[in-house]
């Protein structure tokens, strides 16, 4: 990441946060608004961060993955289905059902990725076509099963969508409390501590995604596996001549990538909302790809880029609280559809390359032939 791109990311985030603060500052303390924006950003960035990690694993090993969207969607559905099944049919506890749902989602993502790997590595199918297959397949399968299982008369759930076992609970990370303990009665300090508590009240997948950004960076740049993965994505023949099994390395990375997308899918139905809607991933997989590209195929870069999209989404969510305070000259901000466009507009701006070009792995998208 160069300063130009980090600068752009920082600038956009400051502008987005500043807008909300400017509108709401007469009614809510700015610190509270910023904490709320940060908390929402960290929440909604989850699938984007995981999606871009998915892309990083695949593309660093040389397999283009435009099927992240489909992997997420399939995982969202199968994770949700598993949790409901365990909870309502087998009467398992809600928490257990949810955790098993998350594992099922990861498995579903991994299986979808295995299909992509099989097509693009073993059969050397064009990887864009392979990814498209994944996306279409996911839409078809989830739409079909959703209808068959839940809405058709005579289906298992008899035409009624059953109650979901709820959502994964908030984990209170005591970051703010730790600060409060050393504040010693300073009011300003306690305000910050409260704000921090709010920011770090996140759910497990959101927190896990932060950890996975760090883990991915470590694996990619500091371990034997990462070095070999990048070698295979840059110059597979060179890797082959020093005894690295190119196709095996690619298979494993693509499946790991699929599992990342699977975890992102679990976020939608097990952590965000307790239901499944057809097409509910709503382009997040593609936005993740944009974040990955803008972040130059690095975990930190991609996460920072994903924050921009997250902040744009947080803007939309937080503006709803201050709707009536929006000044007349900013009336367009009252249109939540307009604000909702922001992430997609940002994607287009970023991908034009105006903010600096990035370089993909040299062998990205090329099947390896001895």
């Amino acid at each position: 990441m160069d300063w130009k791109r980090f600068g752009f990311i920082g600038f956009i985030i400051v502008v987005l946060f500043g807008m909300v603060v400017a509108i709401g500052k007469d009614h809510t303390p700015p610190l509270v608004i910023i904490a709320s924006m940060l908390a929402t950003t960290l929440t909604v960035v989850t699938p984007l961060a995981l999606g871009s990690l998915s892309g990083i694993f695949c593309e660093r090993s040389g397999v283009v993955n435009i099927g992240i969207e489909g992997m997420m969607l399939a995982a969202a559905f199968f994770g949700w289905l598993t949790s409901i099944y365990l909870n309502t049919i087998f009467n398992f506890a809600p928490m257990f059902s949810l955790v098993m749902g998350v594992l099922a989602a990861i498995l579903a993502g991994g299986l979808m990725a295995l299909l992509l790997a099989w097509l693009s590595i073993t059969f050397k199918v064009d990887q864009i076509i392979g990814g498209t297959v994944i996306n279409i397949l996911a839409v078809g399968i989830t739409g079909f099963l959703n209808r068959q299982l839940f809405f058709d008369k005579g289906s298992i759930f008899g035409g009624n969508v059953p109650h979901a076992p709820g959502l994964l609970p908030i984990i209170h990370l005591p970051v703010g409390s730790a600060l409060a303990a050393v504040c010693g009665g300073n009011a300003g300090c306690l305000d910050v501590a409260n704000a921090l508590n709010k920011v770090f009240d996140q759910k497990p997948i959101a927190l896990l995604s932060l950890a996975l950004v760090l883990v991915t960076h470590y694996v990619l740049f500091h371990t034997r596996w990462g070095l070999r993965t990048r070698a295979v994505g840059e110059h597979p023949k060179a890797a082959d001549t020093v005894g690295i099994n190119v196709n095996r390395t690619r298979y494993i990375n693509v499946v790991i990538g699929g599992m990342m997308a699977g975890l992102a899918g679990a976020y939608f139905t097990l952590e965000s909302v307790p239901s499944f809607e057809p097409l509910m991933t709503n382009g997040r997989g593609f936005i993740s790809l944009a974040a990955m590209i803008f972040g130059n195929w690095t975990p930190f870069g991609a996460w920072a880029a994903a924050l921009v999209f997250g902040a744009a989404q947080a803007l939309q969510i937080n503006l709803q609280f201050f709707r009536e305070f929006i000044p007349a000259q900013w009336a367009f901000l009252q249109q939540s559809y307009f604000v909702g466009l922001a992430p997609y507009l940002l994607t287009m701006i970023i991908l034009t390359g105006i903010i600096g070009k990035t370089t993909p792995p040299a062998a990205d998208g090329q099947p390896y032939e001895k």
Partner: protein, 517 residues
Amino acid sequence: MPEAELVLQARGITKRFPGVLANSDVSFDLRKGEVHALLGENGAGKSTLMNVLYGLYHPDAGEVLVNGAPLQLDSAKDAIHHGIGMVHQHFMLIPVFTVTENIMLGAETDHRSRPDETPLARLDRREVAARVRELSRQYGLEIDPEALVGDLPVGVQQRVEIVKALYRNASILILDEPTAVLTPQEADDLFDIMRELTRRGVSIIFITHKLREVLAIADRITVMRGGKVVGSALPQQVNEQQLASMMVGRDVLLSVTKTEAKPTDPILQVENLTVRDVRGLPAVRGISLEVRAGEILGIAGVQGNGQTELAEALTGLRRAESGSITLAGRSLTNASPRAFTETGLAHIPEDRQKHGLVLGYTVADNMILCDYYKPPFSQAGVLQQSVQDAAARKWIEAYDVRTPSPYVAAGKLSGGNQQKVIVARELSRPVKLVIANQPTRGLDVGSIEYIHKEIVAMRDRGVAVLLVSAELDEIMSLSDRIAVMFHGQIVAVVDSRKVSREELGLWMAGAHPQAQA
């Protein structure tokens, strides 16, 4: 000298590919601490034999012995394990990795100092870098372990490859055409390195088709042709001419025979030309030159001194920042490549696969790329296939292109034959100027001889020729006048009969006292 022990032996290796007998009962051996040159034209079977020795191919018959023990080599890993290292002609290095990362790849050391085990252990770059420094000191191979390989000049990248093999404890090194990508100075450096390596007990197989180098460095020479060993020799007992005949199977003319040039009118006139390179930096800085009909002007220089950009500007492929280009009296500064072609330019480009041919097109299509849109090849916008077919067959015959048919994809041909397709297309037209950029790079002796003859024949027909080459021998034997390029400028223009190799080398290095002018 007492005969050293045999470290590597190949006995009766036979390797068959569909339709080709690539190696037929080939035997080859290597003694400890010697440089054994394997000489042969492209397609003679050298690479096949080396791939067998490196475990990449499994021979149909024959056996490989390392230190006297027969071995089953199933993969490069096996070969590495038995101390065989290979430096490929196209380097197996990753440009975006550091030297250290490239060297340790596949044989990494982690913080628990366990080589080649747990995938998620933390890499110990410092330890490897220290080892690399030690090896480079020991063998006199200067490299910076922290540098990015992509930033290094080709000669240094080659050293990285050698250290990569030594890091894996290689005691037998296979160098596949190692000088093909090097400048004469870099090649001399490489020979020093090879001597140092052999002094320390490393044994080297040196694969090449350059005769002068073989005589300069080899302890023994084995010559291959058509998949068989056709002879061996000691460098003291043979000369270039004899080696060339063994390699090609007939007598070859190594030096170009040409008569005195009879230059007439100026054809190409370049005034104060300035050109920038891809990164936008000035690559050609105010060059003026003139090429007359009936003469060959050679541009000598170490790769990367602006020759590429000069040739591109002179063919309409790159914008000229300032200055003028006049071809046959017509001002063509920043004109389109087609304007150049139609004015009478023939261009043999530097990279034949990238800029000379459409590899996926047939030979016949490639042959009419310059004038497919004009009669007789095109009538009212429709290609005349029968005309094209007849022309292609005529040229394949006339220019000795070895192809099964005119309708084979150009990418399927050998390098020499690909170059002949380009030569046929460019030189069969009525041209006034030939710009030949590295016309024989990577070609075998037979093809080089052929291309040289064609270029001289063009000159004798009164065509102006601008020859750009990094091969000093080529420049010296073909050119009538030689212009030396250094840092984007022409530092000397000399008569080729009155200049020595050493003098030119000094000009090229920018060291000649007059180069300061």
